[in-house]
């Protein structure tokens, strides 16, 4: 018997629904309303004016930041996927069950260490007198300025996303039927070719989802671009904090935030469609 509505059922269903409507949906909805408010003399006024959208979308700085952020997040997704794949492939296919469990457990640890602390730690490695330059100095190289570069931002992005990308790739790889791989070998498909013709298509959904999560994480991150990239070039997240912390320009920050959400939704939509598009012909996982 499955009663539609009962006090018992509602006791369990309603609290989360109410909480998320009040404190998740409402703030995001308020953000939409806020983007149409106006600011006069450093005070916000409820309004319905497209001025913030027009102002922001008319600024080259905004589009520059948008392009930078998008390009950085996209490169990070590709880079993380490429860097992660050999590792997750090896963990999935070359390790014993026990070793694999340990590998997964170790990869979970970074999620529970402070991202801020890890980024600070990278400063120790990358600064002009940092560990890497000292090591290079021993062999007569450098010092190279590494901190406050796009490369350092990328290192930060990898710190943020690599563990998740490896885990997500790994989960899609371990579910591949090993018989598929043996069948491919059996049909004279070489090792490398098997990876491209069998393994990657079979794990396609997981690989795309992993890249998507990397995009989501890095697209909104402000820690790496600020503390490793030195705030230059400006990303959308930096633009948001600058806009809010200076002069009550919250409605404009809301415009940036909504544009980011819109972008993420669009990217997620296309990524998911792309992930499942090949399923009809490719092997299902």
């Amino acid at each position: 018997m499955r009663p539609r509505l009962s006090i018992y059922g509602l006791t369990f269903s309603l609290p989360l629904l109410v909480w998320q409507l009040l404190f998740f949906v409402a703030p995001l909805a308020f953000l939409v309303a806020l983007s149409f408010w106006t600011v006069k003399n450093f005070t916000m006024r409820p309004d319905f004016d497209a001025v913030n959208w027009i102002t922001m979308y008319g600024k080259p700085v905004f589009w520059q930041a948008y392009a930078t952020t998008f390009a950085l997040a996209a490169s990070a997704s590709v880079l993380a996927s490429v860097l992660a794949f050999p590792a997750s492939y090896a963990i999935a296919f070359k390790l014993s069950d026990t070793a694999r469990r340990w590998a997964v457990f170790l990869m979970v640890i970074p999620f529970f260490t402070s991202y801020l602390v890890r980024v600070y730690s990278w400063q120790i490695f990358l600064s002009d007198a940092g560990i890497v330059n000292v090591l290079l100095g021993y062999v007569g190289l450098g010092p190279y300025p590494m901190l406050n570069t796009v490369g350092a931002t990328m290192v930060g992005y990898m710190t943020l996303s690599l563990p998740l990308v490896i885990l997500l790739q790994l989960f899609s790889l371990v579910f591949i039927d090993r018989n598929l791989i043996e069948a491919a070998h059996n049909m004279r498909c070489g090792r490398v070719r098997t990876v491209f013709e069998v393994v990657i298509p079979s794990a396609r959904v997981g690989l795309v989802i992993a890249a998507l999560f990397c995009f989501i994480l890095t697209f909104g991150d402000f820690v790496s671009p600020v503390y490793l990239g030195g705030g230059d070039p400006t990303t959308l997240s930096i633009l948001i904090t600058d806009t809010t912390k200076s002069g009550q320009q919250w409605p404009r920050a809301a415009v940036i935030a909504l544009t980011m959400i819109g972008t993420l939704l669009a990217v997620a939509f296309f990524a998911v469609r792309f992930a499942y598009a090949g399923n009809a012909k490719g092997a299902r996982k």
Binding site: Y8, G9, F12, S13, L14, P15, L16, L17, W19, Q20, F23, F24, A26, P27, L28, L31, P86, A87, A90, F93, K94, A103, F105, P110, F112, T113, S114, Y115, L116, V117, R118, V119, Y120, S121, I124, F125, S127, A129, V134, M158, L162, P163, I166, I181, E182, H185, R191, I216, F219, G220, D221, F222, Y227, S237, I240, T244, A254, A257, M260, I261
Partner: protein
């Protein structure tokens, strides 16, 4: 795997293993460095190492603001853990037990928040909470953290429920237990390890979250927000000391959760034969 053995090449295998080590080295380098330099005397950490020193821990321990931040973090983390776990349990049970119109929307609300960038969540939260006069207080951090933590709790408890024999709940009803009695005597005991797992994981997530807390906490800074403050100021190995300290707390919680979650799966697996 052994059947594949003849198709393997030693060189490829070893280079792949070396690559795994490299990947883990990259991931753990900053964590390890932070630990090492928290115990190192140098003002500007680099190599060669200075001498062993606890001065950064002393510096941190003597900073009343750090203690205040830690207090805030612990109180907020505890409350966030309890509330998120309660809400997550309700949502997980709802998903397990009921089918209803709009369930997809319900699940989206229950699971989506962690995918929204924290900076946007922080902005939206601050804007909204200051509008309803709830910003700049400890409770604002709690509210915001529960939004992103409840989905983790839900996922963990839902996973446990999916390991439960679907006949268990009706079997209890059939033996004369009302729905409430079944909840108390069957569902809760069965999911207990996941409930505590969820409690510890959500506490750990709240402990480390800094962006949203930074936006909405006002004067009630949590420890991670304090770290952000240090980071914005001059570079200081005090961050390493705090980081190591928070890492130890978080890992304790995670390992506790891990033990609870993996410890008692035997009976259900064997139950199905």
């Amino acid at each position: 795997m052994s059947s594949e053995a003849i198709n393997r090449s030693r060189a490829v295998d070893w280079s792949l293993r070396a690559y795994i080590v490299l990947a883990y080295a990259f991931v753990f380098a900053p964590i390890a460095a932070s630990f090492v330099f928290s115990l190192n005397s140098d003002r500007f950490p680099s190599i060669p190492l200075g001498h062993f020193s606890l001065e950064w821990y002393r510096a941190v321990a003597s900073d009343p603001l750090v203690w205040q931040g830690l207090g805030n973090t612990l109180v907020i983390g505890l409350i966030v853990g309890v509330v998120s776990t309660l809400l997550g349990f309700g949502a997980a049970y709802t998903d397990y037990r009921y089918n209803f119109f709009g369930k997809q929307v319900y699940l989206a609300l229950a699971l989506l928040p962690p995918t929204i960038p924290v900076i946007i969540m922080g902005l939206a939260m601050l804007a909204f909470l200051s509008r309803v006069d709830l910003s700049g207080r400890a409770i604002s951090v709690i509210i915001a953290h529960v939004v992103i933590c409840a989905p983790f709790a839900m996922a963990i408890i839902r996973l446990r429920l999916s390991q439960m024999d679907p006949a268990l709940e009706p079997a209890a009803w059939n033996l004369g237990a009302s729905e409430w009695a079944t909840m108390r005597h069957v569902i809760v005991p069965f999911t207990k390890p996941a409930i505590f797992g969820a409690l510890f994981i959500t506490m750990a997530v709240s402990f480390d979250e800094f962006a949203i807390a930074w936006f909405v906490s006002g004067l009630n800074e949590t420890l991670p927000v304090k770290v952000l403050g240090f980071l914005q100021g001059q570079v200081s190995p005090r961050i390493n000391a705090i980081g190591t300290f928070v890492f130890v707390i978080s890992m304790t919680l995670v390992i506790l959760a891990q033990v609870l979650l993996s410890g008692r799966t035997g009976p259900t697996a064997a139950d199905k034969e």
